[in-house]
């Protein structure tokens, strides 16, 4: 039987995974990390809440989610720092003059050489520049190339694809049999009527399950004309106004104009 692996300050991996669920950062300078994701460290490291104090310049250059700032801290100093998040799989990614958009709850930490910005798509943040970041996922991450259609719950993020859009599959609700299905609810729904579609060049990151990680607030964008979901917080989930009757396929009928 193998006991637990024993690490000291020197044997901890340098910017690599300790095991699938923990990542060791070789800190010399500064890193941004989400609050509460540091589980251990060696060396001289101090953690500053951001939004005030001496870090103003750094924040200005690499942090662009003003209302989201309370969820992040800056680790500063020298040493090794171990990051983990509720036993989710953790991976590091390198960007070189690139961009990657990721679900806000999945991002754990990033180098300040990257700039973090709110994505136009609600619930996502974009990293731009050169550097390393650490993200968690529920199950190992699979990289796929577009064109591909992805279950919304399985999407972790994407790099370089400018075209995330919605795709609806509801062919089975058409036609005579579809009409019977629709009127009676007989047969139910496949649960796969809605996907995110990606085309063009790039990479799409998928997690292996359809269980999402808790979403982190990204902050509301300014209330301006032309800004998606600006000002008003986006309402999550379609609340049916009346109790659902047995013969209804829920909101699908309304959404597809059937």
């Amino acid at each position: 039987m193998n006991g637990p692996v024993i690490h000291d300050a020197h044997s901890l991996p340098v910017n690599d995974n300790v095991n699938p669920y923990a990542f060791s950062v070789d800190l010399d300078g500064q890193w941004f990390l989400q609050k509460g994701k540091m589980i251990a460290y060696f060396g001289q490291i101090s953690f500053h809440g951001i939004g005030h104090g001496p870090l103003d310049r750094l924040i200005r250059s690499s942090f662009h989610s003003p209302l989201h700032a309370a969820d992040w801290v800056v680790a500063e100093g020298r040493g090794r720092m171990v990051l983990a998040d509720r036993a989710f799989d953790v991976n590091s990614y390198d960007l070189e003059e690139g961009n990657l958009t990721v679900r806000s709850g999945n991002l754990l930490a990033y180098q300040p050489t990257l700039a973090l910005k709110q994505s136009i798509i609600p619930g996502f943040v974009t990293l731009i520049g050169t550097g390393k970041f650490v993200a968690a996922s529920n199950g190992p991450v699979v990289f796929v190339e577009p064109p591909i259609r992805v279950d919304p719950q399985a999407l972790v993020g994407w790099a370089d694809c400018p075209s995330p859009c919605h795709h609806y599959d509801h062919g089975y609700m058409r036609g005579v049999l579809g009409g019977v299905r629709m009127l009676t609810g007989f047969g139910g729904t496949s649960g796969e009527e809605h996907q995110f579609e990606f085309v063009g060049a790039g990479t799409v990151l998928l997690q292996s399950t359809e269980q999402l990680m808790a979403e982190q607030p990204t902050g509301a964008p300014p209330d301006e004309a032309g800004v998606p979901s600006g000002g008003t917080p986006s309402t999550h989930g379609n609340q049916p106004s009346a109790p659902r009757l047995p013969g209804q396929l829920g909101d699908l009928q309304r959404r597809f104009g059937l």
């Binding site: 699979v142 089975y172 649960g191 796969e192 269980q211």
Partner: protein, 216 residues
């Protein structure tokens, strides 16, 4: 070989025109190409009679038909996924553990009480499997889910395998299973080992066990 493991929790399936797959509803993670997902009213094969049989046997799990041409990735609930290739033999598995399977496989239900009489019925109660189980027969592949990793144990004649009923996932081949009990006075006074019931599998074949005692 339509299924390919991407990692421990995901499989990729090739869908070709004219062939179809069945998969659990909502288990599709992503797809390429033109593929359609239709909820299967009858929950698999065999038409209406097959559906009624499965409803009675409580082995009706919501399935969908996957057709078209392209590749589809499946995964569900963070469970480990294992691909089992069948070449003419029969796989016995609970319907809710099926992630996806080849449309060319013959799907049926089997009354477990027929193996072992009254003890067979007790077995169904203890394992939580009920009295029926799903069988898949023919040539093709099946993606089965388990909580925790998969362990494959060979069963040889004269070498029966005992498994914890909660860890049992599926078995294949010519296998008889019965519940063996080891209830003594310790169990009566509440000082049992917690392993009073075991599933004894004998014959020749393979049993698949999960590295966890949690049911799906």
């Amino acid at each position: 070989m339509p299924f390919r493991s991407l990692n421990s929790r995901m499989v990729e399936a090739q869908v070709l025109p004219g062939q179809r797959l069945f998969s659990q509803r909502g288990a599709m993670l992503a797809y390429k190409g033109e593929v359609s997902f239709t909820p299967s009213i009858t929950g698999g094969q065999g038409g209406v009679m097959g559906m009624i049989g499965r409803r009675i046997a409580n082995e009706a799990t919501p399935l969908m038909t996957v057709e078209g041409s392209g590749t589809v990735m499946f995964g569900h609930g963070g469970h480990h996924v294992h691909v089992i290739e069948l070449s003419g033999d029969t796989l016995y598995v609970e319907a809710d553990r099926l992630l996806a399977f080849d449309g060319s496989l013959q799907q049926g239900t089997m009354f477990m009480g027929s193996q072992g009489g009254v003890m067979g019925m007790v077995r169904g109660q203890v394992t939580g499997q009920g009295l029926f189980t799903t069988t898949l027969k023919g040539h093709g592949a099946v993606a089965v889910m388990a909580h925790g990793g998969f362990i494959e144990l060979p069963i040889q004649p004269q070498r029966p395998v005992h498994v914890d009923p909660q860890a049992y996932v599926a078995h294949r081949g010519d296998v008889r299973n019965k519940l063996s009990t080891a209830i003594g006075w310790r169990e009566m006074i509440g000082r049992g080992s917690g392993e009073a019931f075991q599933l004894e599998l004998s014959g020749s074949g393979t049993v698949f066990v999960q590295a966890s005692e949690e049911k799906l």
